[in-house]
Structure formats: C-alpha cells, structure tokens
C-alpha cells in the first residue's frame, strides 16, 4: 500500500472527529451574551420562545458589514384573531443588541419584512416574532463577516 495514501487516510480518520468537535465548540454555538439575552427576554415578556414558523434569510458570508440584506417572514394566516403582532431582530456582537422592530397586523396580509442592516462582527442574528395570542417564535442565523461595519470612521 502506498504510504502517502495511508497517512492521508489516517489523517482523515483522526482529523474528522477533531473537526466535528472543533465546530461544536465554536463560540457562535454558545448562549447569546447577557445583554442580547436580556433584550430578547424583555421582548418575549416572560414567554419561552419556540422554534419554527420564522424564516430568517440572511447571507451566511458577508463581504461588507455596512449593508447586509435581511428578510424575515413568519408563517401566519394574518387574520384578526391569529396574526403576527411584532417582529424583532437582535444582534449578539454589535455595540447594541437591538437592530429593529416591526409592528404588523392583519392588514399586512403576510408577515414579511426586508431591510438592510449593519454588522460589526462575525456573529449570530436572532429574529423573534410575537403572535397575537402572546406566544413567541424564534429563528437565528450565523454569519461570517469579512469586512465589519467600520466603527473607526
């Protein structure tokens, strides 16, 4: 057997678990920092957010953090009795945890918003949606920012 191929195979075999372990230990997978958690808890108003129904669409790799397109939509019939009341976006590593909040109602027809945001660092973005019954749904997205929004002027 070719020695080079063998050692490469060995590297793959031993390297793969290390890679998986490394990915799972990435800081982005950790709980959000306290100020982001506080802002999200304040928005949720004591309700535990559930995953699902919220779709957060943001590019996973951002070249310019000064203007990042973001779309958030929520599955909802948007009727008088069952609609999305508010959507909030939170940052883990910008100078402030709040990004924007959107107030919606049945007259929107669809819970769908698109905007452009600033990102000061590689981080995780959270979208929380408060429904008309008071329940809260959540989604998050990790992204890598190569050129952060310039705070140096």
């Amino acid at each position: 057997m070719d020695f080079a191929a063998l050692s490469r195979r060995r590297l793959i075999v031993t390297g793969l678990p290390a890679l998986i372990l490394g990915l799972s230990l990435r800081p982005a997978h950790a709980a959000p920092p306290p100020r982001t958690l506080t802002a999200m808890r304040e928005f949720a108003g004591g309700v535990a957010p559930m995953n699902g129904r919220v779709l957060l669409d943001i590019p996973p790799l951002v070249e310019n953090g000064n203007s990042v397109p973001l779309t958030v939509s929520v599955e909802s019939p948007m009727t008088e009795t069952d609609h999305v009341a508010e959507i909030a976006l939170f940052s883990e590593r910008n100078p402030l945890p709040d990004i924007a909040r959107f107030r919606l109602g049945p007259r929107c027809g669809q819970a769908w918003v698109m905007t452009r945001i600033r990102l000061g660092d590689t981080q995780t973005i959270h979208a929380l949606a408060r429904m008309s019954d008071g329940s809260v749904r959540a989604a998050s997205a990790e992204l890598l920012v190569t050129l952060p929004a310039c705070i140096e002027g």
Binding site: N66, S67, I99, G109, W112, T115, R118, G153
Partner: protein, 106 residues
C-alpha cells in the same frame, strides 16, 4: 430635503397582497464613530417609520443604529381601498419626513 424612493404598485385587486418598498436618504449616524480629535460623531438616526393606509397605521418600525444608512424597508399589505398611502419617518430630534403614494384598488 433628502430623497425618498417609494414603490407601490399603481393598481391591485381588492384583497390582493401587494409589496411596498421604501428607501430614504439618511446617514443613520450611529454615535459609535470616533472623531479624530476625540469623542464621537453624535448619533442621529431615523428612529421610527410608519405606513398609514385606509385610516390606520398598518405597518410601523422602530429602528436602531444597526439599520444601514439610507434605510430600506420593504413589507406587504393587503389592498383594501383606492386612495393615498402615507409614509412617515421620524428622527432622533423629532424631525418628520413624509412621502405619499397612491393606489387604485379594482
């Protein structure tokens, strides 16, 4: 006066869901940008956005410094009645900027 671009479909069927796109010229000065002589460029951002249609605020937004300069906000509305749609932006100092568009509902 800053420029604002509004896209509203000129006509829609009653009950149809339409997409509204808004872009307004504004630096959205975050207050985190240091000055060469020390201190920071004072914060001045558009803090609130409202869309008023058929007698009510149908969509509103609270903006923070993390919203990019020249804020772009797109959203959807159910077309209910022909008439004007009013768009309003309010900055940190309370200055109000308004823009209008019309829609014909058939």
């Amino acid at each position: 006066m800053s420029r604002a671009l509004i896209h509203v479909p000129p006509r829609a069927r009653a009950g149809e869901i339409i997409e509204i796109r808004t872009l307004v010229q504004h630096p959205m000065e975050t207050g985190f940008r240091p000055l060469p002589e020390g201190g920071f460029v004072p914060r001045l951002i558009l803090r609130r956005f409202e869309c008023i249609y058929d007698g009510a605020v149908v969509f509103a937004a609270e903006l923070h410094p993390a919203v990019a300069a020249n804020p772009y906000i797109a959203f959807r509305l159910r077309a209910t009645r022909s008439g004007g749609i009013l768009f309003r932006w309010i900055d940190d100092q309370g200055a109000v900027r308004e823009e209008r568009a019309g829609i014909e509902v058939i």
